[in-house]
Symmetry: C2
Subunit: 348 residues, 2 copies
C-alpha cells in the first residue's frame, strides 16, 4: 500500500528522467530546452514534446546553483504600508514576471537601519538585483549589486522616476488658468525629494502670478498632535481659493475638512492632489490629481535592472562606465493631469 506501485506519486521530473525516457543524455535535454548548444531540430522537438508530457518543470535551485543567478529581483520598500505601494508593487510584479523574474519583497518600515538589513537579506536570499523605492530623504549606502531606483533623484545608479517637477508645473499652470491667485500647498515631509520636486514645479509655474503658502503636515502634527485639523477653513475664509496637496492623502484631508465646515468644493475652494490613489475617483467630489505612469516606470526600472544583471554575468567585476548601449542612468516619466470634480475656476 505504501509503495508507489499503482499511484505514480512521481516526485518531480528532472532532466535525467526525460533523458532516460528517451535514451539520450541529460545534456541533450538541457540543450533542447534552452535552445543553446548544438542539437538537431528533430531531436529537440521530440525532447520538448516528451518534457511537456512528463510535466517537466526546471528546478530553480539546480539552475541557480549552476549559473549563479536566481531569476528573482528584490523589491525594497521604505514602508510597505504606504498607500502608493500597491500600484508600485503591482506594476513591478507585472513587468518582472513578463521577463521571467519573480519578486521578493523587503520592507524596512521607514527605518534606515532596517532598510540596510532588508537589502542584505534580499541579497543573501539570492536576488539577482534590487529595485529600491526610498522614501523622504533616505540615502542608500553603496551596494555592490545591480540596482534600479525609483523616485530617488540624484542617487548613483540607474534611476527612474516620475517627472514630479513637471507634474508640479502642470498643476500650477492649471490652477493659474483657472484664475487662482492665492494658493496653499499642503505637503507631508519637508525633506522628501519627491514632494520638493513637486513643490518646486508648482512654484515655478505660479510664482509670478499667485501668492503661494506651504503647510507641512508632518511638522504641524508633531506640534499639534496627530490627526489635528490643518486650519484650512480660516484660510478659505480669508481669500485662499485653492488647496494643492502634494499627495492625495492630504488632498483627502483638505476636502473633508473644508466640506465639514460647509465650504463647497470646488464652488468656493479648489482642491487638487497627487498620485491618483485608488479611492480618489470615488470620493465626492472626485479628486483632480496628477497620475504617475507606474507601468512605464516599472518597465523601465525592470529593464534597466535586467540589463545590468546580464551585463554583470558576461563581464567580470564592476561594470565599466558607459559602453554606449545602456539606458540613460536617470529617466523621467511624464505625469498626467487628471481633471475631475474637485477643481474649478476661482470664485470672483
Amino acid at each position: 500500500m505504501q509503495r508507489e506501485a499503482m499511484n505514480k506519486v512521481q516526485a518531480r521530473v528532472n532532466l535525467s528522467d526525460i533523458a532516460r525516457a528517451l535514451g539520450v543524455s541529460a545534456a541533450a535535454v538541457s540543450n533542447a530546452m534552452s535552445g543553446k548548444g548544438r542539437i538537431s531540430e528533430d531531436l529537440a522537438a521530440t525532447i520538448r514534446k516528451k518534457a511537456d508530457e512528463m510535466g517537466y518543470v526546471p528546478s530553480v535551485a539546480g539552475r541557480a546553483l549552476r549559473t549563479g543567478r536566481s531569476g528573482v529581483l528584490g523589491l525594497v520598500l521604505a514602508d510597505i504600508a504606504h498607500p502608493l505601494f500597491p500600484q508600485i508593487a503591482q506594476a513591478i510584479e507585472n513587468a518582472a514576471s513578463d521577463k521571467g523574474y519573480g519578486i521578493l519583497i523587503g520592507d524596512s518600515r521607514g527605518d534606515i537601519n532596517a532598510q540596510t538589513k532588508a537589502i542584505s537579506r534580499l541579497i543573501e536570499r539570492g536576488a539577482d538585483g534590487l529595485i529600491i523605492v526610498p522614501r523622504h530623504g533616505t540615502r542608500i549606502a553603496h551596494i555592490n549589486h545591480p540596482v534600479a531606483m525609483i523616485d530617488a533623484p540624484s542617487t548613483p545608479g540607474n534611476t527612474v522616476s516620475a517627472d514630479h517637477w513637471d507634474g508640479g508645473v502642470q498643476i500650477g499652470s492649471y490652477l493659474r488658468k483657472l484664475g487662482h491667485r492665492n494658493i496653499i500647498v499642503i505637503g507631508g515631509y519637508q525633506d522628501s525629494n519627491v514632494q520638493n520636486d513637486r513643490l518646486g514645479g508648482m512654484k515655478s509655474a505660479l510664482s509670478d502670478s499667485a501668492r503661494v503658502e506651504v503647510i507641512w503636515v508632518e511638522a504641524l502634527e508633531t506640534q499639534m498632535g496627530s490627526g489635528c485639523p490643518l486650519g484650512l477653513v480660516p484660510k478659505a475664509q480669508h481669500g485662499v481659493t485653492a488647496f494643492a496637496a502634494l499627495s492625495d492623502l492630504h488632498a483627502l484631508r483638505a476636502v473633508t475638512e473644508l466640506q465639514r465646515a460647509g465650504i463647497d468644493v470646488p464652488g468656493r475652494a479648489t482642491v487638487t492632489g497627487f498620485d491618483d490613489l485608488i479611492w480618489s475617483i470615488n470620493i465626492s467630489p472626485a479628486l483632480t490629481t496628477m497620475r504617475m505612469n507606474m507601468e512605464e516606470i516599472a518597465n523601465i526600472a525592470v529593464r534597466a535592472l535586467i540589463t545590468q544583471i546580464e551585463q554583470n554575468s558576461h563581464a567580470e567585476g564592476p561594470v565599466p562606465g558607459g559602453t554606449g548601449d545602456e539606458e540613460p542612468s536617470t529617466k523621467r516619466v511624464p505625469m498626467e493631469l487628471v481633471i475631475r470634480d474637485s477643481s474649478g475656476p476661482a470664485p470672483p
Copy 2:
C-alpha cells in the same frame, strides 16, 4: 591589471573556504553552523568565529538544492492594488522574516485563471508554501502544496481569518446602543464571503431593533456608471440616521457624499466603516471603523504554514489527517471597534 592580484575581489565565501582556512572538513563547518551533527563546542566556536570574520553567507541555492526547501513563501493576492494589501503584505513579510523566510509575491489582478497561473509560477519558483488571500468568491483549485488561507472561510486547508461576523455584531450593537433604528448598510460585491459575514453579523445584532437596508455598490455602478452617487442624501433626509459601510472605502464615499450636501457627520448621520485603512484617522471627521489584527492573523498563518512545511519534509507524501499536534484548521481572530468622530447618537 585584470587579474585579481591586489584587489581581493573575493567572489563569495563558501563552506570549503572556511574549512580550508582552518584545516578542517567542510562537513565540520556545516555542522558547526547548523548545530546539528556531532561536533565539539570548542571547534564549533572557532569555526563560527572564522566564518564571521570571513563574512560567510550560506548559499540559498546550494542549500535549496540539497534540502529541497527554498526558505521562501509565496504570497498570492487576488489583487495587489486593493488598499487593504499593504497591511497584509507588511504583516506577512514581518512574520515570515522573523521565522527566516522570504516572501515572493504573486498577483492575479482579480482574474481566476491568472490566479491559478500565479500559484503555479510561485510553486515553480520553489516556494515552500503559499499564503493565499482570495477575493470575493474566488475558489482555489486543490493544490498539492502547503497552503494557508487568509479570509477565505470554508476553504480546505489551514485558514485564518478575522472574525468578520463578530465584527459585524460589534458594529451592530454599537449602533443600536447609539439609538439608531433606521440603518443603511453599504457593501461592495454581493458575493464576497467577507462582506456577507460582516453583514450577517450586523443584521443579527440589529434585526430585532432596527430597519436595515443594504446597498451593493458594485451592482449599482454597473447600472449607473462607475463613481455614481450612492443616493444617500435623500435617504438621510427621510429618516435614515446611520450608514454602516462594509469597507472604509465605501464609508469614505458616504462621508463625502453626505458632507457635500451639507449633512453633518455625525450630527445628522453616523457613518462607520471596516478595515481601518491608513487614511481613516486623517479624514474629517475621523472614521469610526472595525480594525483587524493583521499582525496576529499573519503570525498564525505563517506559523501554520511553516508547521505544514516542516511536517511534509519529515513524512513523505500527503500529510495524514489529524495527528493531534496541529493548529486548528480554521481560526478566527477578533476584530476591534475603533470609535472616532464619524459616529454619534441618533438625532431625535
